[in-house]
Amino acid sequence: MKNIKKLEQYLRSIETYFKTGFCALIMISVVYSSINTSYTSHISFYNKKLNDFIIMVLSTIGENKNYALFLDYTGLNTGYGFFSPNVSSDLLITHNLFTNGTSRLILSNSEFKTKEGASRFANLNSVYMAKIEAIENKKEIDTLKSRYLEVILKRLSKYQLNKDSKVDSVRTDLYLYHFPLLVEYPEMKSKFIPVESHTKIR
């Protein structure tokens, strides 16, 4: 009986140590992720030069594969920016479906039966912000990344072709949605700025 009680106490103390250890790890991870995402988004937004030392420290920590796996599984690798330092513009993807000379225009997320599904799918569009930032900063986007983004657009076109056998071709267009600034409204109107276009023929 005494041994069982002692064992129970021992196991409880181990549990306490583990819990405390995990909590300490959570705190470290929150601080790390906050600094990592805040610093990189601030530098990116203001187009400043990265500090080599800070990047080296952040990269060294982030490159530890086991730690990165822990962050992935706990969701602790998220930033807490919440639309900071700026609200990003929205991108829209449309499909023009051509059938026997007629065309029908749909949004890329019009497939979805649920609002949550449509909203989630629309998040995909933000992956193309890399292109917008490259254009704005007059920089070349990484070739591999550019081709990867192209593959995604082509995949969307292919899906539309496969879905409806009557469709002869699909033109997929990527637009940057610009709503006028508060100072510009109402003189200026909202506009869709074309960024990229791909046509897939059956």
Binding site: D72, G75, F83, P85, R120, V127, L182, Y185
Partner: protein, 299 residues
């Protein structure tokens, strides 16, 4: 020594006693998170096949090209279910049933820590396989499940306690304190980042946010007429900055804790109303209540 004593007395008079917390926060956190997880999954269940897996619109291998290959993805989970069910369609159904069942076990408090562990594997398998579809709510879902694993989640208001009649008590102060500090850091960092963004200071960020086309406006609220009163957007921007930036201070003071808590909850209700981020707001409100509502009142 006297200075330290005076400081200690000052802090105990004006700041909340972080360790003096009601046990109710544990079941409230567990049950609320379980309900949000359940409804968040049900909200997308009819589009599951379009979003996730190799048969989705954007297949898993295309979405996970830059990811750690050690993460278990939804395709692997469903593939392992194929051995039980014998068909892919039934495996997807089993995945959905498992997700819903685990959420219900968490709500009921029946081996909720183990259920949270299993649900975390399923939830992350979806988030990583549908990487481009994930957003803030998904990360808070993962973190919430991890906190449920660390808390003595079955010790209060639980089916397990009802059946097994256990009187076992476990400490939760360290985990609760971690949750509090986690929130303080999150809001402070958010406030700092917003303060550094000039569009938050001049109202343009709020104006832009309420006009984003991908955040559909369920209530069809028209904000255009407010363009004649630009100070409204400037005020909203600065209010958001102040609520977030000063959160760690005012949520810790006895006199301002409840007021700041309600201000923060109002902020999230406003986000839910205007940007329709219902689930994200629900997670944040739950975290705030669990962390700072159940502090015992002191003289």
């Amino acid at each position: 020594m006297k200075v330290i004593q005076r400081l200690g007395k000052y802090f105990s008079q004006h700041f909340i006693d972080f360790s003096n917390v009601e046990t109710n926060f544990v079941p409230v956190f567990r049950i609320s998170i379980g309900i949000i997880l359940l409804f968040h999954f049900i909200a997308v269940i009819n589009d599951f096949e379009l979003l996730y897996g190799m048969d989705g619109i954007i297949p898993t291998d295309l979405q996970t090209i830059y990811q750690d290959s050690r993460i278990i993805l939804v395709d692997e989970v469903i593939g392992s279910f194929d051995k039980i069910t014998g068909s892919h369609a039934n495996s997807i159904l089993l995945f959905k049933i498992s997700y819903i069942l685990l959420s219900i076990l968490i709500i009921l408090g029946f081996f909720s820590r183990f259920s949270a562990l299993l649900l975390l594997v399923l939830q992350v398998s979806l988030v990583k396989a549908g990487y481009y579809y994930s957003y803030g709510a998904d990360f808070f879902a993962s973190m919430s499940l991890f906190y449920i694993m660390l808390l003595p989640s079955d010790n209060y208001w639980s089916l397990r306690k009802l059946i097994f009649k256990s009187n076992r008590t476990q400490s939760y102060n360290v985990v609760h304190r971690t949750l509090q500090i986690h929130l303080m850091i999150a809001y402070f960092v958010s406030g700092i980042e917003k303060l550094s963004g000039f569009n938050w200071r001049n109202g343009e960020s709020v104006w832009k946010a309420v006009h984003l086309p991908n955040f559909t406006n369920d209530f069809e609220l028209d904000f255009n007429w407010l363009s004649e009163y630009p100070w409204v957007f400037v005020a909203l921007g600065w209010t958001t900055i102040i609520i977030e930036l000063l959160y760690p201070l005012f949520i810790s003071l006895k006199k301002t804790r409840i007021a700041w808590l309600y201000l923060t909850i109002s902020l999230h209700l406003g986000i839910a109303l205007t940007l329709n981020l219902y689930f994200f707001s629900a997670y944040m409100i739950t975290w705030n209540l669990a962390a700072f509502y159940f502090i015992k009142q002191q003289e």
